[in-house]
């Protein structure tokens, strides 16, 4: 099947103000999104997840940012990086839509939610005001907001956090996009509301047949929704696999650490006196990625080779086609070393 979106060797760099060098926020990222599937993109803050999604929509402010020559982003066979602004506008918000992390700041406080939902339909689909309003009410109904006839005239401040996130989703979906990029759509929300929103996204995806890129720092969130997962660290893809394979056999030590960081209800109560096995340290600055494997300073398996030589993405084998599960780690060549140093 032709992929809906194909990202190849994407490099998005930023020139920093203080002369501390170039931040290589996204540094050679490749992945594909198939029509109708959910792709989870997982990593900590500062790993390049959001810059990747903004690059796809060409929303990177230039300067200070720029997408390097040689990068390639193809949507339905068209290279988004060479499109004219007019052509790009016809795709953005129409065929590719995005919802952001903060529903509080992403909505305009001085327009009603109905006006904000209707805007895209008026711009992209040339609906009349009246038809767009009807569409806005339909969308509010679709995302499960009670009394949509009334709510359409409300302002964002009259709604709760969960409702505003639903409004954001309604706005994104009003033109029935083929690809929805959801950047941490549930991070600022209560677990109960998070469950509501994830359930809603699942249902809408099934009903509308769109593909979803679900960006999150929490592997617990992608486990229930994603078909495949891309794990990013330090501007690169470090592991990529079908969801079931990734959780059954997480091979990159970073993936392992992310998984061990998730507080679990099914964990034995006194797991090492309640301690979580997280990842020590933090993501380094994008201006100074470590040499060799970028994860080596935080890795409990690292040895000489990891400090000296950057690993490529290696095929992990396993079930499925060749290349279904790939890992950027030297452990694949020396599995014996998967015993942590004291």
């Amino acid at each position: 099947m032709e992929p809906l979106l194909r990202v190849r060797d994407l490099k998005t760099y930023f020139v920093t103000e203080h002369g501390s060098g170039t931040a290589r926020a996204v540094d050679g990222v490749s992945f594909e999104v198939q029509p109708g599937e959910t792709l989870g993109i997982v990593g900590e803050s500062g790993c390049g997840k959001t810059v990747t999604s903004l690059s796809i929509l060409r929303l990177i402010p230039e300067p200070p940012g720029h997408i390097r020559p040689g990068s390639f982003i193809e949507f339905e066979g068209r290279n988004l990086l060479t499109l004219e602004p007019r052509e790009l506008r016809a795709i953005r918000g129409n065929q590719i839509a995005m919802i952001f992390q903060e529903p509080m700041t992403s909505l305009n406080p001085v327009f009603t939610v109905g006006d904000q939902i209707a805007e895209a339909a008026i711009v992209h689909q040339r609906l009349s005001r009246r038809a767009a309003r009807t569409r806005a009410i339909e969308m509010l109904n679709l995302v499960g907001i009670p009394d949509p006839d009334e709510r359409v005239d409300h302002y964002p401040h009259q709604m709760s956090g969960g409702m505003r996130q639903r409004v954001m989703i309604a706005m994104a979906l009003v033109c029935h996009p083929k690809l929805l990029i959801a950047d941490e759509p549930t991070t600022a929300l209560d677990v109960t509301i998070q469950a509501q929103i994830l359930e809603l996204l699942d249902r809408l995806q099934a009903d509308l047949g769109m593909a979803v890129m679900l960006i999150t720092h929490d592997l617990g969130v992608v486990a229930g929704s994603a078909d495949r997962v891309v794990v990013m660290y330090a501007g690169q893809v470090v592991e990529q696999a079908p969801t079931t394979a990734l959780f059954a056999r997480p091979l990159h030590p970073y993936t392992e650490g992310l998984l061990a960081s998730v507080p679990r209800l099914d964990a034995p109560p006194a797991r090492e006196h309640g301690r979580l096995h997280g990842i020590p340290g933090q993501v380094p600055a994008a201006t100074a990625w470590p040499d060799g494997c970028r994860f080596h300073p935080r890795c409990r398996y690292a040895w000489d080779r990891c400090r000296a030589e950057a690993p490529p993405l290696l095929d992990a084998g396993g079930e499925g086609e060749p290349g279904a599960h790939t890992v950027r780690c030297w452990l694949l060549t020396e599995p014996r070393r998967r015993t942590p140093h004291p």
Partner: protein, 329 residues
């Protein structure tokens, strides 16, 4: 049983309804943010206080420390009646009770260095100055896992996790016995969240601290709490020792909160109870059981809509406020 370090009985905090524009018109209904809340925490133990946004859990934390004045109730910390204290003894007691806030971006003064933030409480409470203060600041930073060179940093130079460590160091600087931790890890990445939870567990052991740990995520609370209290619309609806509550929740709200926690296992067989709608406004709580409009319990009946269930002991040590607590979901 050892006497409780923190004892809260019948705590009430109501906020007056605001008037309309320009203070004209009739005042709106009173918001019952905290409505008759009671619990006790033994020394060295952690009570997890759990609920959705707006349930009143943060107000409880603040009212206990008298950062806001409670309207009624009795709060005893270290044997002292907190509510009755005058300004001067209250300030002295503040040395023994501190708070760590959720937002590591909003709770640190952007114009102060980490050093200044840590030196201030030492000076106010006349704990240390000069070289002694320097030593204490360095050792506090080390204790929360930061290099002492961070003392020269401003908050904007720190990551979310580092800021939260500074917030913890600031709270610890006066050597408190009791800490209110108000959603201390909710704003952090899971990896950093794990680090901070581990740090809090270590500090508790080392310093024999007593925690009130406020959170909305029952999985996070499971890693740190000895007892758990679940709040809904200003009231505790279930309270039990943690192992008991996680093994057999009796209130349908607790069961729903547990089922909402994302499970990091794609093959997990589970039934997610997705609660419809939001928490109702505490200014207009529904009649009867306040949870009844969202309650997924199949036995829910007319009684739930008219008669408020009392918080009662349904099993040894386990309290729940549900008419059907004997037939849990």
């Amino acid at each position: 049983m050892t006497p409780a370090l923190v004892d809260v009985q019948g705590l009430v905090k109501h906020f007056p309804g605001e008037r309309g524009l320009l203070g004209l018109g009739r005042p709106r209904a009173v918001v019952r943010a905290v409505d008759d809340v009671s619990f006790a925490i033994a020394p060295g133990q952690t009570l997890g206080l759990v609920g959705e946004s707006g349930c009143g859990k943060s107000t409880v934390g603040r009212a206990i420390l008298r950062l806001i004045e409670p309207d009624a109730g009795r709060v005893t910390i270290d044997g002292q009646d907190v509510v009755a204290l005058g300004a001067r003894p209250l300030r002295a007691l503040r040395r023994r009770m501190q708070i760590v806030f959720q937002d590591p971006y909003g709770s640190l003064n952007p114009r102060m260095t980490v050093h200044q933030m840590l030196a201030e409480p030492l000076a106010i409470h006349r704990i240390a100055r000069g070289a002694d203060a320097e030593r204490r600041i360095a050792s506090l930073l080390e204790e929360v896992g930061l290099d002492p060179s961070f003392a020269r940093s401003y908050p904007h130079e720190l990551s979310g996790g580092q800021r939260q460590r500074v917030g913890i160091a600031r709270a610890l600087s006066v050597e408190p016995h009791f800490l209110v931790l108000d959603e201390p890890v909710s704003a952090l990445d899971v990896s950093v969240q794990a680090q901070v939870l581990n740090l809090l567990a270590d500090l508790q052991q080392r310093r024999r601290l007593t925690y009130l740990f406020i959170a909305h995520d029952l999985a996070v609370v499971k890693h740190i709490a000895d007892h758990v209290a679940v709040m809904y619309l200003g009231k505790i609806v279930e309270r039990a020792p943690a192992p008991v509550l996680y093994a057999g929740p009796r209130h349908p709200y607790t069961t729903s909160l547990l089922s909402a926690v994302p499970v990091p296992d794609p093959k997990a067989q589970r039934q997610r109870i997705v609660l419809a709608g939001d928490v109702p406004s505490p200014a207009h709580p529904p009649p009867g059981c306040p949870f009844n409009p969202r309650c997924p319990h199949p036995k829910k009946d007319a009684r739930c809509r008219t008669e408020r269930p009392a918080l009662r002991e349904v099993a040894p040590g386990q309290l729940a406020a549900c008419h059907f607590a004997e037939q849990p979901l």
